[in-house]
Amino acid sequence: MPGKSPSVGAAPPPRRNRKARRGEARAGLLFALPWIVGMTLFVAIPLVLTFYIAQTKFQIVGAPKWVGLQNYEALWTDPAFWKSAQNTLLFAVISVPLKLVIALGLALLLNRATALSGFYRTVFYLPFLMPAVAGSVVFMLLLTPNAGPVNIALEAMGLNPPDWLLDPKAALWTLILLSLWPLGVETLVFLGGLQNIPKDVSEAADLDSPKRWHKLVWVTLPLITPMVLFNLVIGIIYSFQVFTQAIVIGGTTGTPAEATLMYMVVLYRAAFRYFNMGLAAAMATVLFVVVLILTLLIFQTARSWVHYEGGER
């Protein structure tokens, strides 16, 4: 014990405390250090470099040459940029809310204890485990015009099904439809929220109003708004980056007729087919700005509609 004057009584503990706290602070930084280095190396520095490369002409070989805003001007007049931006926006705007509504519906349906609950949960979760490549290939087979099982079944029912992924008018909508398949994560996040609703709150609401939808709108929904926010932000960010399904189904040209051409595919094409790093970096910067603005906007409005129990955060 290094304490100099144990007779004072009250003095040593705070002193040891302070020392311990300093030790803890040092350890805290030390344990976080690898990650701080990682964030600097793989996030912070590359972010700045992307902004820089976006203002250069850079074909991987040779040195980047400063060209100012030329890449952005080139994007402005590039039809593929606009087409893919439009497709991606439409994809995100339709698929994310739709997915959230369906996932919430499934979660509400799942939120009761029956003998088969475990089975249903497993079934809804499974598509998330399917590699996106494998899933897309399977859907291409299922939706083959004329010869695929879905169309054979629909035709047998006397319907006139579209050519799905091969019809330029239907392809993007089909892609949106397919994106609804893996919604297990969203569903289970909602389910977690529903199951955290305190029993007394739920029962009180039952007594207050016999109508079930009253409870849903005024009690259940407000209590799971944090999960809605979480799923919304993650969903928007990910759907702006949709790549695997798009390239498996539409290749690098977004067949048919650029209907499935997505922003990330055009960016990939620019960087790794045409080796135009400057243009690709400009596209990445535009994506960054759009996602940043959207995220800030969502978090800003979230204050008025997200309810945190006990005022957390």
């Binding site: 350890a27 029956t114 088969l116 399917m130 999960m227 498996v248 910067t285």
Partner: protein, 283 residues
Amino acid sequence: MSGQRKPKIGTRFGMLAYHALMLAISAVFLLPFYWMTISAFKTNAEIFSDPVTWLPDPIRWENIASLLTRDDFPFVQQFVNSVFYAGSVAILVCLSCSLAAYSFGCLRWRGRNLVFALTVCALLMPTIVTFLPVYLAWSKLGLTGTYWPLITPFLFGDAFFIFMLRQFFMGVPRELLDAARLDGASEFRIWWQIVMPQVRTPLIIVGLFATVYTWNEFFLPLIYLQDRESFPLSVGLFTFQSQRAVEWSVSMMGAFLTALPMVALFLFTQRLFQRGLSSTGLK
């Protein structure tokens, strides 16, 4: 599961309607899996038979052998690559992320909240925004075409898994750490001998998630790797499908055998998976 409601619909008819609805939805969700599986055991002609056949007859077991012996789809090699890729990422993630998660979840230090806020920003950052310079750096180092660019970053940690693990570390009682400190244990020993055993289950959960994510990862290996022999299964299947689009039975067997390990892994560990999700941390 304490908050779970008792079945509201008391009547037998209501219960029946509920299960009929749920089973119908389940069928829609399972159809692609089912179709993939039966198509994997059919010939091309049988896949497109009209009327639709719901069971392969006969079951073409030889499809497995014919997939494994193709040289334009080195499935076994790619399977090994995927195991290596997913396995090393999962192990690295468990080690590196638990360091940072311990720091964020259990230790108090100045700047912690700032660094954690930056971590959340990194989590929300689209991959591509930071990707190009990183790619150029690996290419300068001459390491494209290897697994180094795919695995090394996880030595430092990963925003998503740090975020996920932190929730669990926050649950470790502080008295435990203080008691160990009073006994004079070093911070490193506290982490390794006291805290890590407490979060063993969460670590397994994070390892499982990392395995699935990496097994299914497509964008990064597509860009970094160049030859068929080094691809993981996701890229191998894509390459095969885009070059041999008409050989559906081989594609389906490939898809089936690519998905199978993850589905099996999940079925054996699903309790853990679902616990991981419900605590992805929304507060």
